[in-house]
Amino acid sequence: MGRSATTKDAHALFHSLRSAYAATPNQLKIIDLYILFAVVTAVIQVAYMAIVGSFPFNSFLSGVLSCVGTAVLAVSLRIQVNKDNKEFKDLPPERAFADFVLCNLVLHLVIVNFLG
């Protein structure tokens, strides 16, 4: 009895999540796709390291952290560009994107240096 109730709840939850997410604007969905891509790349890299071994460690670290870093920065961009966030309504999205690009530049400069 409890089982079916929870599965029904799970289904209802899943549907409501799906419908709510479909309502987000396309701009944000593109950013979400980019985040998903970065995370999947990170997972692939970790799996590769598990198979092949972690030498050279600095390359592994810089690869994984670059994926995690771009994901984090994309999430920050999404937070700043999202029109539902009242804290950022004074921030023009161009400024948010410029900050995003600058931070990515610094991140990738460090990555390329650390890649070895």
Partner: protein, 775 residues
Amino acid sequence: MAAQETSQSATFRYAFGNVLSFSVLLLIGVMAFSIRLFSVIKYESVIHEFDPYFNYRVTQFLTKSGVYDFWNWFDDRTWYPLGRVIGGTVYPGLTLTAGALWRILNSVNIPLSVETVCVFTAPVFSAFASWATYLLTKEIKGPGAGLTAAALLAMVPSYISRSVAGSYDNEAVAIFALIFTFYLYIKTLNTGSLFYATLNAIAYFYMVCSWGGYTFIINLIPMHVLLCIVTGRYSPRLYIAYAPLVVLGTLLAALVPVVGFNAVMTSEHFASFLVFIIIHVVALVYYIKGLLTPQMFKVAVTLVVSVGMILCFAVLAVLIALVASSPTKGWSGRSLSLLDPTYASKYIPIIASVSEHQPPTWPSYFMDINVLAFLVPAGIIACFLPLSDASSFAVLYIVTSVYFSGVMVRLMLVLAPAACIMSGIALSEAFDVFTRSIKFHLLGVTQNPQDNAGDTTNVTQNDVKSEKSEDTIKERPSRKSKKKEKENTEKPSLVSRVEKKLLVLPLETSVIAVFLLVLLGAFYVVHCVWAAAEAYSAPSIVLTSRSHDGLHVFDDFREAYAWLSHNTEVDDKVASWWDYGYQTTAMANRTVIVDNNTWNNTHIATVGTAMSSPEKAAWDIFNSLDVKYVLVVFGGLVGYPSDDINKFLWMVRIGGGVFPHIKEPDYLRDGQYRIDSQATPTMLNCLMYKLSYYRFVETDGRGFDRVRNTEIGKKHFKLTHFEEVFTTHHWMVRIYKLKSPRNRIRGKTKKSKSQKSVSSTSSKRSGTTKKNPWQ
């Protein structure tokens, strides 16, 4: 019309306030620089103490050979025969900063020498640090508190003690980097701008380059983020302030060779990763909460909690198993001794023996932060009204730094900026209340109707805020306070408007209170200047003493190093206790066996054992290390208390920790350390005793040691394996040469090669067999 006039006068007031605060900041910078120049005026422009000499030598190498050679430098002049990888074991921030300064100055044709740049780096960066304190406190409370805190930091004795002109050590730039990183973090937290987050990561990189204390930042910021999450203050700005810092910061920290992979593998950084995961979970929860209806959200919570908990526990168990498998649970020795103060004395005597690592005494708090010690609680209370993210960070900072300063005296330095910020806030708020009361009593009756009309649309918070900012720009605990009258005529209406909400004290009380606060500031200033001039300006390479016939200057150290550099071969090795290693390599330019880096405990224990052994055994040990000269520091003739005989028990303990045949009770008579006639035979025969007191009886006929205040035990003896080559003017540094072995050995010798390993040699040594401890 009236509105335009008020806005014009408002801009004029703002402009005037800005110019005034800019000039005040300039003066604060000049004061921070000048108060640290006492040692240059009283003595000379010379590098102080021990560690700065190493930094100076590294900077010399950097300016001569360039960055690439410095980065890959392997130093073979120290830790003979092991050498030291300088590029990989030094925090490069200080040397790169000074080298860059020297380069820039020379390129604009200001030909300062490297030594001058090194000596004056610390005062320059302390001026920068006080400006950074202004910025940080402005973010927390407001510009008035900022100016106050900056003025307090420029003078606080605890910071002066590590940043006088000549104290060329990591803390000189690291404290500036610390405060600046905190400022950028708070700025990101307040504005939510990714630009400041990038700058924050770069400032954190500079901090990692400069000092090992960067672990304080990477643990304090996660603690603060956790505190904000737990108290319900999570916001998207918190995510932007923290998450990019962790990723960028870890990468940048891993770039510095000293840190390397420790940035992801040691327990000191795990807190940041843990909070990184937590903040992502919290962010996800808030996001989903925004997406779903409340009832659906409840369903989601129950589902996730049940599944997620199991997953969480599994991951946590794996992590704990990993960490617990290492003997120190992944922490380094120094960090462990911070968390458990008794750790070092039990396991690592070298860390316990450094005088800076001892816990401070109660009077040292009053000496080092003086008046701020009792302004800090007031500041903590002021931070709670109202509590914001930034002020909760300030409270967390002061609480953690008070704890750590109680563990190690050296960390009083980290307490100083926090204490200045808190006191600045407290003083500024106090002045706020008092001057507001004075203004109300003096001008509260006269009201301007036009101003009233212009201000009715303002929300009450704006009133309070603008009025506060006007007042606080003018107020600081200066030695001379006046000129509030200029302000008084301009805003009477706001005062009357807000007096319903704010409490106001009677006029006489306020006047007396302002006067007393100014007096407090005056006492603080007097103490700081005294501390800077008398207590913290000694270069410790040159000593002075006043007696009835004037000022005596003891320049024995430099005399000894100059003798070494002029009278020995370039490749000769000098053995001494590790305190003097840096100075010997920097000033005498000779290879040493151990130095202040103390990275190899066994090597230091070898030297300690040699100093504690009888002459023959010591000669054998030193000969196996290719040592030519032995240097000891002796203060018995002039009363210099930090000499090697006073440090001798540490040599015994450290040597005994690795070579068990050295036992500390052998050197003590009834548990007391003595060098007079009651001393044990082991003590009277050991190398340190002999080298310190050789021919000492010739000075006054009795051999009276002025530091230990007794006559020495063994007065007339000869040295068989060493010969004295130099003793400085006041007998403070004595240099001996190892005698070469005799050509012809008389009598029967047993040339038995004993197969025993070093650690199990017996304590009884017969005189004729050559018991080489290395065979």
